[in-house]
Symmetry: C2
Subunit: 252 residues, 2 copies
DNA sequence: ATGCATTTGTTCGTATGTATG
DNA sequence: GCATACATACGAACAAATGCA
């Protein structure tokens, strides 16, 4: 099937050659305007590079230079073989003492949901043991979950709970697959985030698949420790977030 | 071209076979020692698995078993197609209300320094104008700087200052190329960070060059707004940090 | 853009030593 | 002694990523 996109009569927008501004910057401004004033909406596919080049009467590379800039500024998202798309509004994941996944999502007027990938009892590796303050031989409950906002994946988390301190946490998670509810089930009625470390890396094949991102775009990775009211560590979590769909925000 | 690498006479380190300790643990200990005593330094590439296996006179799998353990313990970082590298100690960049580059670096007992790349007066683009609360025609002072810790690049920042509110900021930056000092020069004796947004993307060629990272590893990107005591915006900055050399840390 | 050499990642199969019942 | 299970060790082949010419 062939889709023919019809434009306004203005088939060739006039660019000012030999002016102070380079051609690609003029094209950049033109497209930025169209995104800004809503003539193309978030998620929409933009015209192809070829279409732009005929419209502006320039070489395709000149258009590409502008697209590159738009992509770098996060206004559009370019996907090889598919086209360029107006960036969708990003989900700001605000980190504070009381960070809860579902509250984060609801704040954006989106519907939170989750998909449990794994609930298992595993031995703690060095990093987990250190974070939870356990000996490295201790066993922990691992809870792996994909978090979605309006059905779109926004986070992939591996959460570790100390087994000794939280008896029955595995069963609680199976009954109520949210962290807040499960912790409440085993007597932790409140908890707060003590520290959050942020880094980034390329996703594994599985992560890319689950988060629905190309393997060429990095994921943000957070490590965080949650403690109960008494200051005892109740959870150590490592979560991935797809860029640039999600941003981490910190407000002191 | 063929590179022939000549080794010390010790072509085959003797391992104790049929002793109480397994081969792979002996290899683990040997490599750990070499990392510990500094014969290979953070960031250095280790010998290949093949080289190790001839050196120790064992199968490649046996070496891999040791490497796996080293990697799990965070002593080395293994990259497919490139090799294994001694882990560099990460610089935790703690974000709070009073985040200052030089203080961050000194906290790790490293010596902060900077390289000014550009000081210029430019028109504010849409994003900058919005962040600084200016009209998009306003002019701003752009300050581009590479921040180093013990001579290693850790941040590349583009800092924007509103020209109208901060007369003489460009000259101040030229005299004293640190943000805190320059702001003090123009009457802003204190400021605090209002908001920090974190995302990640692949570096441009220039960024990769300046931060000394491969183009295949993502950079963390922060956007932040600094305000003076009265709450007026005095700076909008966008900074890149090389992963995994730098982590962003939030402590509420 | 293409091909090639290098290096790590994965999966077979095989053999051996050790602990357990 | 014997059967079983498990971790260790070796060999070969192929897949995937990287860097270079």
């Amino acid at each position: 099937m062939v889709l023919v996109v019809l434009y306004e009569p203005v088939m060739s927008d006039s660019l000012a050659r030999q002016a102070g501004v380079t051609l690609w910057r003029q094209i950049l401004a033109a497209i930025e305007q169209e995104i800004g004033d809503g003539s193309v909406k978030p998620g929409d596919r933009l015209p192809t590079e070829a279409q732009y080049s005929t419209r502006f009467g320039v070489n395709r590379h000149t258009v590409r230079r502008a697209m590159e800039e738009l992509s770098r500024n996060g206004l559009i998202r370019v996907e090889q073989g598919r086209g360029a798309f107006v960036a969708e509004d990003v989900l700001d994941y605000t980190v504070g003492a009381r960070t809860r996944f579902s509250e984060q999502v609801r704040r954006h007027n989106k519907e939170p949901s989750g998909r449990v990938l794994r609930i298992a009892e595993v031995p703690a590796d060095k990093q987990v043991a250190a974070a939870l303050g356990l000996r490295s031989t201790s066993r922990v409950v691992l809870f792996e979950r994909l978090g979605l906002a309006d059905g779109r994946p926004v986070t992939l988390g591996r959460h570790h709970f100390p087994l000794v301190r939280l008896r029955g946490i595995a069963e609680a998670l199976r009954r109520q697959p949210t962290i807040t509810a499960a912790l409440a089930d085993v007597g932790v009625d409140d908890y707060r985030r003590q520290i959050t470390r942020v880094t980034a890396r390329m996703p594994t094949a599985m992560e890319a698949e689950l988060l629905q991102v190309p393997r060429t775009r990095p994921v943000l990775v957070t490590e965080n420790v949650n403690v109960d009211r008494g200051g005892a560590v109740v959870e150590f979590g490592v979560a991935c977030y797809p860029t640039p769909r999600v941003q981490i925000v910190f407000e002191p």
